[in-house]
């Protein structure tokens, strides 16, 4: 159940990442680039939860997951703060 939900979350993030990066390709608006990267990394973060639970039960990927999430949010904030034009 947990794995299913986290997979769904990963898919949602992947969809957002795809839409944003596609938007960046079309328009060159840089905010979309950073936001797209953010959601791509959030996809990885959610996927790592599933991997942590199922494939690597004896090792905890918690720190990696958290670091990935933090970096993702950092990229998003960078784009929101700097890219305005």
């Amino acid at each position: 159940m947990a794995a299913l939900i986290y997979t769904l979350c990963a898919l949602t993030c992947a969809t957002c990442a795809w839409l944003l990066l596609r938007g960046h390709r079309r328009t060159r608006f840089r905010l979309l680039f950073w936001a797209g990267l953010c959601f791509a990394m959030l996809t990885v973060s959610n996927a790592l939860v599933v991997a942590d639970r199922i494939f690597l039960p004896d090792v905890s990927l918690a720190t990696w997951r958290l670091a990935t999430t933090l970096m993702a949010l950092g990229l998003l904030l960078y784009g929101l703060i700097w890219e305005g034009e």
């Binding site: 839409l19 944003l20 938007g23 328009t27 979309l32 936001a35 305005g84 034009e85």
Partner: protein, 132 residues
């Protein structure tokens, strides 16, 4: 005189608003576009643009290049360009020019509005189909 927050004149149509936020990066860009638009089909040298806008030639050249990449003008040889948007773009630019006349404050506010611009760009990316 209307004290509406959004405008000092007529309201700006949604699609014109969207066009401004996604395609008009600055007021000089707008003014340069209007210069070319006033002389459709005629080659306009960059030097003229610089004089009319009271800017340096390099800045004028940069604006003309932006207009060219936006397919609003095309090269006409000899350092000049002419107004040459396709039909759909021309129609939108006509409406934009009208809005600029009837609501200068509203249009320039939109051009300068960083937050609205970013919001529009972000939201637009999530539309599956481009025409929505």
């Amino acid at each position: 005189m209307s004290q509406a927050e959004d405008s000092g004149g007529e309201a700006i149509a949604d699609d014109v608003r969207r066009f401004i936020l996604t395609s008009i990066p600055s007021v000089p860009f707008m003014e340069a576009m209007l210069i070319f638009k006033a002389l459709p089909g005629q080659p306009v040298p960059t030097r003229s643009v610089a004089e009319r806008l009271y800017v340096g030639e390099r800045q004028a050249a940069a604006l003309v290049e932006q207009l060219r990449q936006a397919r609003i003008v095309e090269a006409a040889g000899g350092g000049a360009h002419r107004y040459a948007p396709d039909a759909a773009l021309a129609a939108m630019l006509d409406r934009l020019a009208l809005a600029y006349v009837h609501n200068l404050i509203g249009v320039t506010r939109l051009i300068h509005s960083r937050t609205e611009r970013m919001a529009q760009q972000f939201a637009d990316a999530f539309k599956f189909r481009k025409d929505r």
